[in-house]
Amino acid sequence: MEAKMFRSFVDYLRLCASYLRINMNAQLEYRGAFYSQVAAMFINDGAWVVFWLLFFTRFPVLHGWSLKDVMSLWAVTTAGFGIAFGLMGNGHRRFAVAIAQGELEIWMLHPRAVLPHFLLGSTIPSAWGDAAFGYVIYFGFVKPNVQQAAMFVVLSIVVAVVFVGFGILTGSLSFYLGNASTLSDQWRDISITFATYPPTLFDGKVKVLLFTVIPAGFISYLPVQSLRSMSIVDLLIAVAGAIGVLAAGVVAFYFGLRRYESGNLISMRE
């Protein structure tokens, strides 16, 4: 049983590699546009570094958080985002639209589980800029030691899992609400915005919100917590949170897919 699971996991990894290769080939057909999008996102993220630099020049400490802490927050969040949607580009904005337009059906003709396969179908060029930024900032600016570096790499993957899971959750809204792309984009953008500010700004009531409806807590707070404390317990909590978000997304997706397959998706507004 375990051998079979291991084999299919390896098979899926090989599928990921094939999709990565074909996605990058497709992007590099227009390398000028690709590189400029990567660079632009890098600069976009850099603008926020400038902001925090200016801020911390004037106000050195923010409730126990220093510039390095905020940089770590940004680094792990952008790195996770970049890994998530560099590999699984369909998990971001395309998800809700594809469901609404019936694009999932093409994917259902293949001998693969729909969700993990569909996610691989495209890459988001600017995500590579985010990934590069995250790693450059962390290793260039925060300058970690070996343990911190290892922790960072692991956490960037954890954050990537959260992003994919949350992307699936918000995108699956289309199963229930028709073309929900603007709503799901909004939900995601707001959550990501919250995730890029130090959690010490928010008090108890808001924090509850940030671990439920607006899962910024799982996106960045738990990961950064384990990065600051370097504690394995915190890391495990962050991993559990990531798995929880992913599970929520997967459940929402498959319930929605069941509805779609029974043909109860069709609804019209008049």
Binding site: S36, A40, L54, V61, F194
Partner: protein, 268 residues
């Protein structure tokens, strides 16, 4: 075409653009929810800063003034129309070639549409932002003359931003994609225009440089004028805005000229 005829034609373009903006309610809700989130987060940020600083003024402003400043700069920033991508598309589809014969009317058409878009969006953003600010920090003292001075800084601010975006769109003649450049531009405006942090907070060495750059005239000048109006500041702003507009218009003229040459030599 006589002046009045072309003026009324441009006004009609603005009006149509303005009206179409009111139709897209989901976009409005999106922008307003974003505005609410930013104000909420920054209020908490400033609360912490003010508490730690021990005084009730930071960078010359009280906490409520800081929040209202952010409302104004955000309202301006989020009201920007998509001029760069429209011009980019015109260049790539060849529509521009037709219009470049009468360059003034091409820019003029875009300007009227952009202003129509912008004024409506800005009004909505400002209204919603004001309601949020009132709920969060209450009102700040505003005089009628202060309000007038604030309004005086707006046209040039909008015009400057338009010219900047127009220039970026024209770069489509030479670049495979201008979306990256457009993003850099908006971020530069954000950071050097003092959207989140008033320029007074920036390091003292940078302040004169930043004030002279056109970006400050787009965001910081109207923002400060709303919160802390003063005649001296107004005179300064008008001078700088005027100079910036002149420089930008010159740049646009040059770039359009070069683009035209390239068009005629390459045959479109």
């Amino acid at each position: 075409m006589t002046i009045t005829k072309s003026a009324s034609r441009y006004l009609w373009i603005s009006y149509t653009a303005a009206r179409s903006n009111l139709a897209y309610s989901s976009e409005v809700i999106y922008r307003c929810s974003f505005l609410a989130v930013i104000l909420f987060i920054f209020l908490r940020l400033w609360k912490v800063v003010y508490a730690a600083s021990g005084s009730d003024r930071v960078g010359g402003m009280t906490l409520p003034q800081m929040v209202w400043y952010l409302v104004v700069t955000e309202a301006i920033y989020l009201s920007a129309p998509r001029v760069a991508s429209e011009v980019d598309e015109d260049v790539r589809t060849g529509r521009l070639a037709v219009h470049l014969i009468r360059p003034l009317s091409y820019a003029g058409g875009h300007l009227s549409r952009a202003m129509g878009d912008r004024v409506v969006r800005f009004a909505i953003n400002l209204t919603v932002g004001s309601m949020l600010a009132l709920a969060l920090v209450g009102p700040i003292p505003i005089t009628a003359s202060g309000l007038v001075m604030f309004l005086v800084t707006l046209p040039a601010a909008f015009l400057l931003d338009f010219l900047g975006m127009f220039l970026i769109g024209l770069c489509a003649f030479w670049l495979e994609s201008t979306s990256g450049l457009a993003l850099i531009y908006t971020r530069t405006v954000m950071m050097f225009g003092g959207m989140f942090l008033p320029l007074a907070i920036y390091p003292a060495l940078l302040q004169p440089v930043l004030k002279a750059l056109p970006f400050a005239s787009m965001l910081s000048a109207p923002g400060v004028m709303f919160v802390n109006p003063s005649l001296l500041l107004l005179k300064e702003s008008i001078l700088i805005q005027g100079a910036a507009v002149a420089v930008f218009m010159l740049m646009v003229g040059v770039v359009q000229f070069v683009a035209m040459q390239r068009l005629f030599s390459n045959g479109g």
